[in-house]
Symmetry: C2
């Protein structure tokens, strides 16, 4: 999709992947991936929980899914798998396992020629800027494509059509992200020197944003920057983790939109009271100009917007820590025998 073109229809591969389900709609959806690709599924599960009365769903790490082998995995199940490269071994095994149990399978991947695209019954592709080298329209990112897939699925299974509101929202998404980058740039410049010196930086979120906080903790802070972390859930926080809060504790908090916002606001008030504001980077979606994005979809698109924006912060941290982002790894893509 070019950046000045409004989205008026679902991507063709999404419609094609789901059309065969109309005859015998599934009753259970498994959202299956690993790491960063799994993190995206949290917003999808939240959407299904809120918008589908007919579909139960589970979100599982791909290898856990294969071992756990839930009894609900059968002909009434739809398994949506995601892997950027389409080559993650656990996710490929999960696709084969799901098919062996008679489930329908859809593989989301950057590369329509990848093993995952071939091993799933249907393939749906998405884009990421680091593979094209050029900026993409975020409507075509993993988050955007997953939401299109699930909105169309809910239309088919539940007869509730959220697709037009989503398409309208996706058309307004990239400009909103561009504005968010401008909004947070001075905040990031301010916080980067302090957080770059920390050995532990927690992330925190709730609701549809939890996955983005998880991904920033394990795929960015831990994997790329070797900073200790945990994605703390904003209410679970009060049942244990909050005892680590002192004036030195560093947190990156997502304050989302929609019904779980009050959880975020409560945790934020606690952090501001007992932490030190200079160590608390708060990304408040309430400060963003989301003009054109349907109010009902704002909560689901917030994690994508905030995660996209946070990449800039990650690069700042990397520069200050003398770390080469995307290359500064010890094990991943350097070793093959684990």
């Amino acid at each position: 999709m070019s950046r000045d073109e409004m989205k008026t229809a679902l991507n063709a591969d999404i419609s094609a992947a789901l059309a065969p389900l109309a005859r015998r709609p599934p009753s259970h959806v498994f959202l299956i991936a690993c790491g960063g690709s799994l993190s995206v599924m949290h917003a999808g599960k939240y959407f299904l929980d809120r918008r589908s009365a007919r579909l139960a769903s589970d979100l599982l790490n791909a290898d856990e899914f294969v071992c756990r082998d839930p009894l609900k995995l059968g002909p009434d199940a739809l398994v949506i798998l995601c892997s950027q490269t389409g080559m993650t071994p656990e996710t490929l095994r999960a696709a084969a396992h799901a098919r062996s149990r008679g489930a329908r399978t859809i593989g989301m991947t950057l590369d329509p020629g990848s093993p995952l695209a071939k091993s799933a019954e249907a393939a749906v592709s998405y884009q990421a800027s680091y593979t094209t080298g050029a900026p993409i329209d975020s409507a075509d990112s993993n988050y955007g494509v997953l939401l299109m897939l699930l909105a169309e699925l809910v239309r088919i299974v539940d007869g509730e059509d959220h697709v037009p509101a989503l398409l309208q929202s996706l058309g307004a998404l990239q400009p909103a992200i561009d504005r968010a980058h401008l909004h947070f740039a001075p905040v990031f410049a301010d916080f980067a020197p302090r957080l770059a010196r920390k050995s532990v930086v927690y992330t925190m979120a709730s609701g549809p944003c939890y996955g983005a906080a998880y991904s920033f903790a394990i795929c960015v802070l831990m994997e790329m920057l070797w900073i200790g972390s945990q994605a703390v859930h904003a209410d679970e926080f009060f049942h244990g983790s909050f005892e680590v809060v002192d004036r030195d504790a560093a947190f990156i908090q997502f304050v989302g939109l929609g019904e779980t916002r009050r959880l975020d606001e409560r945790a934020r008030a606690f952090l501001e009271r007992f932490g030190a504001s200079e160590n608390l980077l708060v990304l408040d979606a309430g400060e963003l100009d989301l003009c054109g994005i349907d109010e009902g979809f704002q909560p689901y698109l917030t994690p994508l917007i905030l995660f996209d924006v946070l990449w800039k912060f990650a690069y700042r941290l990397a520069a200050l820590r003398g770390h080469v982002m995307l290359d500064g790894r010890r094990y991943m893509k350097k070793l093959t025998d684990y």
Copy 2:
């Protein structure tokens, strides 16, 4: 249950809570709690996934559950809530919310006279040693009682009777735990001085043990000992977190039994290769004498055994850090206005 008495029947309150469901069995189970009580639910969800073809299930923090308000929450849902004191505000709100949606509710709590016991349709009580002051039989702990509840539920809904095997296993549980304490005592004496000096200690697990690793991370290491932590899933580990591993990194790993054991073994091999063995405390359930515990239930009872055993390790860490366990908190039970 006295410690020398075999368990031959389900606790009366469990049978009474579930009997009314036989007329109109639920199709969805929500497992709802906060913090340590939520951690126990992971083994329960795993059991349902493996043993029930009819019940879908979700495990959610209580306040997240209230906000998310899933469309599946209705007359066909059973909501099982747990709170030690029966006074956790989020869990009480969740019970009221579930009833307002027409769902059936069961409240698990230590105190049959507590607000949760009264606000749920049915109450099921369990025991914890810190409240009685005397050792309890772990068959009557939250893990034991939840498994009894779910095994009886599966008998009613699916017609598959795992109750006799569970009761036999629970009869053999406390002696197995007592032996496990003896087995790990010298290991804990060895590891405590080193891990007590760490500012971050990760826990790791998969499958039914994941909740126990989560609880040890947030309720013990973070809450009681102010040590940074995260409960790393043994396969998610390879998709981000593993990059923090070096010779100084400290991990407490649960190596469980059953089908997810291979995930744990893979992660353990990586830790042993790139970490330093003196910082890796491995709790391998394969080393335990589980005589009398049904093989099918060993994976589900392992988290209870290992978590019970780890309390001894927590007390050792506290002593070495000059920390008063259960009292060394800054916020929990000291403040009331958050």
